[in-house]
């Protein structure tokens, strides 16, 4: 699936590091899932929700919000789907740089 993220030009230098950090988040989520550590998953989901849209990645905020909610009720099936979606997003998102509005 193709995704687009509209990011301010003045954040251009930071996008590479931002995406690396999200890859790490995904790995941490998967490890926490293996350990059934719902608290850690909730924490990471909360952080994703907070940081995504600020950098122009609205979808990351949305995924983070859903991860946070699913972890609160230990919905493992939904969490698996969300991790897949998150991985797919990180692989396929197309970043489009725009002037700050």
């Amino acid at each position: 699936m193709q995704y687009e993220a509209y990011v301010d030009y003045d954040l251009e230098e930071l996008v590479s590091e931002f995406m690396k950090n999200r890859q790490k988040d995904l790995r941490d989520l998967e490890v926490a899932f293996e350990l059934n550590d719902m608290e850690k998953i909730q924490f990471i989901g909360h952080a994703l929700k907070g940081v995504g849209s600020g950098y122009g990645f609205e979808e990351i905020t949305s995924i983070g919000m859903h991860i946070e909610h699913a972890s609160k009720v230990s919905d493992t099936k939904q969490l698996k789907q969300l991790f897949e979606k998150f991985g797919d997003y990180l692989l396929n998102v197309k970043v489009i740089f725009v002037e700050k509005q």
Partner: protein, 200 residues
């Protein structure tokens, strides 16, 4: 008037960077801390007017930090930076008087967050003015009664009665123990940081 200072606390560098970027043209000083512990260290060293803290942080939560600050530095205006999912926590904090406002994370519009911060700074100035007013009123009362006194804020002397000028105090204004040789009659605490020592 001295420049106001806002301290932001969030364990995520990326959030702190966004805040720094958002506020780069605002007319106040901005400081950052990555933990409650670091924030408390800064508060001990710097004059902070407004504290903005995340809630979910490892080790010391934002609410624990607010409790500490409310106790030790009640003049600091406190704001929570948090997501809508924390609504029960937010409501509890508001209803227990722990915070002045909250900023949602992620924030949709920079201007909304900036306005909340400007309001908080204005509120902080108002509180300081009120403290000054009450301190001045208390000073007038003591002078009329013929008392000899001095006033400290955070252990530093900010007002010295004329009768104390010629004493040892004059040369030890900022020493930590200038009062030992005088007979202290009464000590009033206007706040945890603001005290009045009456000698006679």
């Amino acid at each position: 008037m001295s420049e106001s200072t806002v301290l932001f606390v969030d364990d995520q560098d990326e959030i702190l960077f966004l805040i720094q970027r958002m506020l780069k043209e605002e007319p106040y000083k901005v400081l950052f801390a990555k933990s409650g512990k670091e924030a408390l260290e800064i508060i001990e060293k710097e004059k902070i007017d407004v504290l903005v803290t995340d809630v979910l942080m490892p080790e010391m939560s934002g609410l624990e930090l607010l409790d500490h600050v409310r106790e030790s530095h009640p003049h600091i205006v406190r704001i929570i930076l948090s997501g809508f999912s924390q609504i029960p926590t937010l409501l509890s904090a508001i209803n227990h008087g722990k915070i002045f406002r909250y900023i949602t994370k992620p924030w949709k519009v920079d201007e909304d967050a900036k306005k909340i911060l400007r309001d908080a700074i204005a509120y902080s100035k108002l509180i300081n003015d009120m403290h000054t007013l009450s301190m001045n009123a208390f000073c007038e009362f003591l002078l009329k009664r013929g008392h000899v006194f001095l006033i400290t804020v955070e252990d530093k002397i900010v007002h010295l009665h004329p009768e104390l000028y010629s004493s040892y105090l004059l040369n030890t204004l900022y020493e930590p123990k200038p009062l030992e040789f005088l007979s202290l009659e009464q000590e009033y605490a206007l706040s945890p940081t603001q005290k009045i020592y009456v000698f006679k």
